[in-house]
Each structure stands twice: as structure tokens, then as C-alpha cells.
């Protein structure tokens, strides 16, 4: 379970987020939508521990983790992907996914230096599991390629596989379909549903309304760092302020 309470982030005079409350019940998919600059990525950065809030708190499994660094939140079962990618260049696709297992593996510096059998076994099993994960997301054939050889869309999927490799309880997906061809956006929706079906709680920032409406149990709408609506997809779609925020075009037309 992930929740934020009274969250505010100010950059100088600019309020990126103002007094945001958010609860994602376990096992559900919640989407955060809003026009560009609404503060969606800032919200993700605060939740994952990359950005400190000016006020408010972040709760993971009911525990206040606001002061805990990002790597500790990852250890407690929080994983995320990035809108503009944070892949490890110079590594193969498979290695990128194995990095995702960092919190699940145990080899320390001495095991590593001395190449102890326990470390070797763990390493072989991790690679095996990473290969299986890549198979599940349809990238089995590209496992041994350097990440530099993959398309933007494929790298988005590599990031998801890497996040799943940490066996997260909560997964934050930052615009998973941005930059994908229309046909692949549908596949991404399937991937998100499959992840959720395994019990992973998902918080999603997404512009593609078809994907948002089809995968979310619940939607939070932000505009200029403020909550303007929240609720089930059908209710949010009909909300007048939401329609106004999307220039009166209506949600279905807002995204081709």
C-alpha cells in the first residue's frame, strides 16, 4: 500500500505540488493524469525518494518513509520506471534486468572479489530469472544485445522488466506508452493488467486515455499541482473541471 498525505513541493516560488493526498489500495491500479506541468512526475519523484517534499509525508505499507532514501524504499518493495529512461548504457539488456534484482541478491564485496561458489550460484539463477522475465515481456530475443541497440519503446519495456525483477509490491509507471507506436500501446495495457493480476499495486502516470480508462480502478486528476478530481474512470471522465482542464475537448478526443 502506498499513500501520500498533505504533500507539497515548491521550487522557489513555483508550487509544483500543493497539499496532495493520495491512497492506492493494495492490488489496485491508480492513474494520475493531468496536462503537462501538472506535477505528475514530481509526485513520482517524491514517492520514490528522488525528490524531497517541502511538506507532507509518504507512507509505504503504513510506515512513514518520507525521510528514507530511495534505495531503502526500493528494498521495501517500491519500484519505478522513468518517463525519459534511466537505463544503464554499456550493459546488455539482460544485465539491466539483473540490476533490478539488486535488492533480492546477497553477494557482498568479498563474495564478489573471491568469486565464491555461493555468489556464482546466485548469479546464474538471477540471469536465468531475468531471461524468463524478458521472455514474458516479449524481449527474449534481445536479451544479449547492448541496450544502445534497442528502440525507445523497447527500452520502456526493459525498464518495466527491470522494475519487476525486484519483485515489487508497488510499481510506479511513468508514462509507459509515451513514444510507443499506437499498436504497442494496447500491448502495454495488457502488460499492466497482467502485472496487476499478480497482485502488484500500480500507480500510473499516463497520457493515453484509452490505456488509462482500460486499466485503472481509480484516477486522480492534477492541474498546476492541485487535485481537481478523483474517482472511478467514468466519474472522472464526466467531471466538468477535468473537461475544462483538457481545453473542453473531452477526454476521448484529448488523446488520439
Amino acid at each position: 500500500m502506498i499513500a501520500v498525505r498533505g504533500l507539497s513541493v515548491r521550487f522557489g516560488g513555483l508550487a509544483a505540488l500543493s497539499d496532495i493526498d493520495l491512497v492506492v489500495p493494495p492490488g489496485t491500479v491508480k492513474a494520475v493524469i493531468g496536462p503537462n506541468g501538472a506535477g505528475k512526475t514530481t509526485l513520482f519523484n517524491v514517492i520514490s525518494g528522488v525528490q524531497a517534499p517541502s511538506a507532507g509525508s509518504v507512507l509505504l505499507d503504513g510506515e512513514n518513509v518520507t525521510a528514507r532514501p530511495a534505495h531503502e524504499r526500493a528494498r521495501r518493495g517500491l519500484a519505478r520506471t522513468f518517463q525519459n529512461l534511466q537505463v544503464f548504457s554499456g550493459m546488455s539488456v539482460l544485465e539491466n534486468v539483473v540490476v533490478g534484482m539488486h535488492v533480492k541478491l546477497h553477494a557482498g564485496v568479498f563474495t564478489s572479489l573471491l568469486r565464491l561458489p555461493s555468489g556464482r550460484r546466485e548469479e546464474a539463477a538471477a540471469r536465468e530469472r531475468a531471461r524468463a522475465l524478458l521472455g514474458r515481456v516479449g524481449l527474449a530475443g534481445k536479451a544479449d544485445l547492448p541496450v544502445s541497440a534497442l528502440s525507445f519503446g523497447d527500452l520502456k519495456i526493459v525498464e518495466i522488466a527491470r522494475a519487476l525483477a525486484s519483485e515489487p509490491k508497488v510499481l510506479l509507471l511513468d508514462e509507459p506508452t509515451a513514444g510507443l507506436p499506437a499498436a504497442e500501446a494496447g500491448r502495454m495495457a495488457d502488460v499492466i493488467r497482467a502485472i496487476n493480476a499478480e497482485g502488484v499495486t500500480v500507480l500510473l502516470v499516463e497520457h493515453n486515455m484509452r490505456v488509462v480508462m482500460s486499466v485503472s480502478h481509480d484516477i486522480l486528476v492534477l492541474n498546476f499541482g492541485r487535485r481537481i478530481a478523483e474517482g472511478e474512470p467514468a466519474a472522472v471522465r464526466a467531471h466538468p473541471e477535468v473537461i475544462a482542464a483538457y481545453l473542453g475537448t473531452g477526454l476521448d478526443a484529448a488523446h488520439a
Binding site: A70, Q86, V99, H102, S112, L114, S166
Partner: protein, 338 residues
């Protein structure tokens, strides 16, 4: 870009070491053997700095200082207190590790130029201490009478015996380095060097890993220092000043930052070029500097990167040679037949 570490890398290292073991019988005289020993020591320094710079994305202008701390701790223990160099070695490694930890803890929160300046400052402090702790270090005149390593009562002070000692010690160190790079720890280091935020969010305690690699890298430099001190029987402060640290950084870049074999080439240049250029007298530094700029201008990934390009070109030529048909022609042929 990091070259992939694989079983082939270990095998190539093994073959190289077998060839190097033959050097004492091939070398026309001991000058070559000493050059070999010097190359091994430099290789250890540059490869360990490459671990920090190339694979972990940090910079240190204090590698010479850690090299010096290793040399002085083991050297002083041997020369002033009669402690066996075999005891001096672990003491020097631990002492250097502790100092590196103390230096790394605050400075590794800095990045780029700031980290370079902070480590440079530390090297300056170490240089002053090597001179001013006169009672131990012998001051600017240097520390004399450092005893050699002994094995079963035999002094390893001949050029040949020490060459083998260096070959074994550096060989082990390089295998440890390879092991580290090809492990959970090494992967975390390579991850934080390319996408720090991404690594953090995957659970890598970035600051802890930066300190860890800083300490490990410094301890490898200390090992090089011990070898140097007990081979040379004499150490003096200028062997560990900021100029040495700067040259080591340059050699990592020249060999190819983050390229495993780049360190071998960097060490070769660092060892051989001064010997070759010696006859040019004062022009030495000028030629050195200009050739350095030229290499980095045309091969930004260093000589290791240039070597990769060359290998790729040769492989390309071979596949286009008369013996092998291009695959597209085969496909077209098959299409016409059916």
C-alpha cells in the same frame, strides 16, 4: 561504454600471463626485465584507477597518494622497525583502506570537478606529510634501507625473482578486479556510473558503493606501493605527488576509460614512452603532451576504443572477403531457385 567481462577475458589474461612468464628467458638483459616489473606495477595502478573512473564514474586525483601511503607504511615498518614486508603488506593495505574511507566519506558526495579538486587537495596533504614526518619517512631525501621480500629465507631482490613476485601479485590482483566487475557489486557500480537515479531506485545505496569502490581501488594502489617500495629499497615523496596522480588519470583516459584492456595499453605507454623519449631531453614532455592530445582528439575512447574499431574493421573485411558470400546474396539466390 564498458567492455563486457566474460570467460574469454579471463582466458586472455591467463594466456598473456603465461607469455609474460617467459620474459626472463627472452629478455636480452635485465633492463627489459625491470621495465617489465615497472609495467606490472603501473598496470596495477592504472587498472585499479580504471575501476574507479571507468567503471564507477568517479574521479580521483589522489591515486598517487594511496600508492604512496602503501609504499611508506610497509617501507617504514620494514626499514625502521624491522617488520617483515609480508606483515607490512596487510598493514599497509588496511591503513590505506582506512585513510581512503576517511577521505571518501565526505568527498564522494561531491561530483565531477569538485571531487577532482577535493581529492587533489588530499594528495597535496599526503605529499606534505611524506616530507614532514621526517623521523619516519626520511623527509625530502627519502626513506632508505627498505628490506626486500624474502621467501623461505631467500631474498627476492634479484631482478628476475622480483619480476616473478610482481607477476604473481599483479596477476592475482587483476583476477580479483575481474571478479569484482563481473558480480552484483560490479554491476551496481556500472549502474550508478551510467544512471545514478535509476540505480538508486533499483535499491543501490549509491553513496555506500562509491565509498566501497574508492576504498578497494585505493587498496590496490597500496599493493602497488608495497611492491614498489620493497623492490626499489628506497622511496621518496616525489614518486607520489600530484603529478603522478594526474599522469595516472591521463593514462586511464589514454588507454580507454572503462575499457578492460585499455589499462594494459595505458600502462605500456606510461612505462615505455619516457624511456623512448629520454633521448629528446627537454623535448620529452612536449612530445608526450602533443601525442596525448592527438590520441584523445582522434580516439575519444582511448587506445582501447581504437583497438575495438580496428578489430571490428578486420572482422568486417574478413566477412566480405572472397571466401564468404554475403548473406543477402545467399537469400536472393534461394529466392530465385524456388
Amino acid at each position: 561504454m564498458h567492455a563486457q567481462i566474460s570467460a574469454t577475458t579471463y582466458r586472455a589474461l591467463g594466456i598473456l600471463w603465461v607469455l609474460l612468464a617467459a620474459l626472463p628467458w627472452i629478455a636480452p638483459n635485465n633492463y627489459w626485465l625491470n621495465l617489465g616489473t615497472l609495467w606490472l606495477t603501473n598496470l596495477l595502478l592504472i587498472a585499479s584507477l580504471n575501476l574507479l573512473m571507468g567503471y564507477s564514474g568517479q574521479i580521483s586525483l589522489a591515486h598517487g597518494a594511496f600508492y604512496g601511503i602503501g609504499a611508506y607504511v610497509s617501507g617504514v615498518l620494514g626499514a625502521k622497525y624491522g617488520v617483515s614486508p609480508w606483515i607490512g603488506l596487510p598493514v599497509a593495505l588496511v591503513a590505506t583502506g582506512v585513510v581512503a574511507f576517511a577521505v571518501g566519506w565526505p568527498t564522494l558526495r561531491l561530483r565531477g570537478h569538485y571531487l577532482a579538486m577535493a581529492t587533489l587537495g588530499f594528495n597535496a596533504i599526503a605529499s606534505v606529510l611524506f616530507v614532514e614526518l621526517r623521523d619516519w619517512t626520511g623527509g625530502p631525501n627519502g626513506l632508505v634501507n627498505i628490506p626486500p621480500y624474502t621467501l623461505f629465507g631467500v631474498k627476492l631482490d634479484s631482478d628476475r625473482s622480483f619480476y616473478f613476485l610482481a607477476l604473481i601479485a599483479v596477476g592475482i590482483a587483476l583476477v580479483l578486479l575481474l571478479n569484482l566487475l563481473d558480480s552484483r557489486t560490479g554491476r551496481a557500480l556500472r549502474a550508478l556510473s551510467t544512471a545514478e537515479v535509476g540505480a538508486q531506485c533499483m535499491g543501490v545505496d549509491v553513496h555506500r558503493y562509491k565509498i566501497l569502490v574508492f576504498v578497494v581501488s585505493a587498496m590496490f594502489a597500496a599493493l602497488a606501493g608495497c611492491l614498489y617500495a620493497h623492490h626499489n629499497a628506497f622511496v621518496s615523496p616525489e614518486s607520489f605527488d600530484f603529478m603522478v596522480s594526474t599522469m595516472l588519470v591521463v593514462m586511464v583516459a589514454l588507454g580507454g576509460t572503462g575499457h578492460w584492456w585499455g589499462a594494459f595499453l595505458g600502462a605500456l605507454i606510461y612505462t615505455v614512452l619516457p624511456e623512448v623519449l629520454r633521448s629528446f631531453g627537454d623535448l620529452e614532455l612536449l612530445i608526450f603532451g602533443v601525442s596525448l592530445i592527438l590520441v584523445l582528439l582522434f580516439f575519444p575512447r582511448g587506445m582501447g576504443g581504437a583497438l575495438d574499431l580496428l578489430c571490428a574493421k578486420i572482422a568486417g573485411l574478413r566477412s566480405r572477403g572472397p571466401g564468404a558470400k554475403p548473406p543477402s546474396a545467399d537469400a536472393r539466390g534461394a529466392g530465385a531457385d524456388s
